[in-house]
Amino acid sequence: MDKKREAIKHMADMLEIPRDLVLDLPKLTITGRSEIHLENHRGIIEYSLNRVRVNLSRGYLELEGDAFVIKALLPDELYISGEIRSIKYLD
């Protein structure tokens, strides 16, 4: 499995194709301290007002802060607003 991923990664580098498209990698856009737009997520693991955990293709993303609201939830897109204090990648 890892070998295959490695091969695809090489191919993508060679052809100069964005990796997030080929490898299904998450793409995170943070606007200021209050808005997060996440593409290629794999579902929400936990949601509360001061903690959100989102599943990714590898590991998960943990957001800590205050007053989190999931502004929109689509099959592979996520839009969260709130006061963000930390963003962590965990396995």
């Binding site: 929400i44 949601y47 509360s48 999931i70 502004k71 929109a72 939830l73 689509l74 099959p75 839009y79």
Partner: protein
């Protein structure tokens, strides 16, 4: 995310989700293609919004997995249905109003003509009516450019026609052809325009047929375009050349004394009627086959009146419908007694007016005199004014060479 306009059209529902591990439920909904937004934790509950179209899928998920779903708020067009049903008559009236406005404004209610000077207005209106533009005509039955073209074709004296539709008014703007004055190109005579006695003759071209002191009648040739050569006085008869008569365009000025007469009269006891201030209007409703009176009083409150009728009528397929208005204006008889002097003065004034009407404004009056022609016993004063003027009576007239 999402389009709030289309959310409004389709309707949105705000729900509260209760139960354990609500994340699982929203993940399932999102993987099944149900769009969720504004997801917010409120204590143990989860508030979220879903489109009306996706609500049943969310409800199924909640039921299958033991969640409790509570509808908190419905918004958008589909949920206005109860309001609409309660106000059905009001909304129907509003709709009817719009329809009536549209229907009434899609007819021509009046036709106006402007820009014409010599072509009578009736002729243009009748021609336009023949091509579909008349009061009561539906606007969709004629095309503006076609009517314009048809009017131009039908009335030769017009060089431009513009049909404007301003609301329910049809305005026809025309420009008339200016036909160039027919100047005489070929040979021509100068003839007398009026009867008179010739004073001076000035010939620029042609041959004079009259001289000072001659009395001429209207139409007499004054300067002839037909030039008959005269023998030269400086040459001996045997040296004279034989010359053919030639045709020219006669030009020149002939001044003559012209007499004018004006007549005027005035009665010593003059009866005169004028319109008073009192007015009375009567209204009638015109419906097909009948004329309904809308008046309480049927008789006029004054003995003599002037009657004018105005109809506002729309022709429909069932006949004519409209309003007829009759306006009665009071007429007052006035009797004036003039002294002989006043009557003479008035008669003279009308006589002068009559005389001035006949005269050219440019002509120069030389002498004038007033003559009373009524006998003293008559109850009427009759006056004649005679004036004499000197003016140019020359008028060009072509010589018809083709007829010869």
């Amino acid at each position: 995310m999402g389009n709030s306009f289309f959310d409004r059209i389709g309707g949105t529902i705000k729900v509260t989700l209760r139960g354990k591990n609500q994340e699982r439920a929203i993940n399932m909904a999102s993987t099944r293609g149900v769009f969720l937004w504004d997801i917010k934790k409120r204590g143990d509950d989860l508030d979220l919004k879903v489109r009306a179209s996706g609500f049943s899928a969310l409800k199924n998920i909640a039921e299958e997995n033991g969640y409790e779903l509570e509808i908190r708020e419905k918004s958008g067009l589909p949920f206005f249905r109860t309001v609409i049903r309660r106000r059905l008559v009001f909304i129907g009236g509003a709709f009817l109003f719009v329809v009536a406005m549209y229907l009434l404004s899609s007819f021509v209610w009046s036709v106006e003509v402007g820009g014409n000077k010599t072509v009578p207005q009736e002729r243009i209106i009748v021609a336009a009516a023949r091509h579909g533009v008349y009061p009561g005509a539906p606007k969709w039955t004629f095309s503006r450019s076609k009517v314009e073209a048809a009017l131009l074709r039908e009335i030769d004296d017009l060089s431009y026609v513009q049909l404007d539709l301003k609301g329910v008014k049809a305005r026809i703007k025309v420009v008339e052809k200016i036909i160039p004055r027919q100047d005489i190109d070929g040979p021509g005579n100068i003839v007398a325009r009026k009867n008179g006695m010739v004073e001076t003759v000035l010939v620029l071209d042609g041959q004079a047929r009259v001289r000072s002191g001659d009395v001429v009648a209207k139409g007499d040739i004054l300067i002839s375009g037909l030039v008959i050569p005269e023998p030269s006085p400086y040459l001996a008869p045997e040296e004279q050349e034989e010359m053919e008569p030639g045709l020219v365009k006669a030009r020149g000025e002939v001044k003559a004394r012209v007499w004018y007469q004006g007549y005027g009269e005035c009665r010593i006891k003059d009866e005169h009627q004028y319109l008073g201030h009192k007015k009375q209007s009567r209204f009638y409703l015109i419906i097909p086959g009948r004329l309904l009176s809308l008046n309480i009083r049927q008789t006029a409150s004054f003995p003599a009146y002037d009657r004018s009728v105005r109809n506002h009528v729309l022709s429909t397929r069932w006949g004519e419908v409209g309003v007829k208005r009759v306006v009665l204006r009071e007429k007052i008889k006035q009797v004036t007694l003039y002294s002989e002097h006043e009557a003479l003065d008035r008669a003279q004034r009308t006589a002068w007016k009559d005389l001035k009407r006949q005269m050219d404004p440019a002509s120069h009056m030389v002498t004038s005199r007033v003559k009373m022609i009524s006998s003293p016993s008559e109850p009427i004063i009759r006056v004649k004014v005679i004036a004499e003027s000197v003016e140019n009576i020359a008028a060009a007239q072509p010589i018809n060479t083709e007829a010869k």
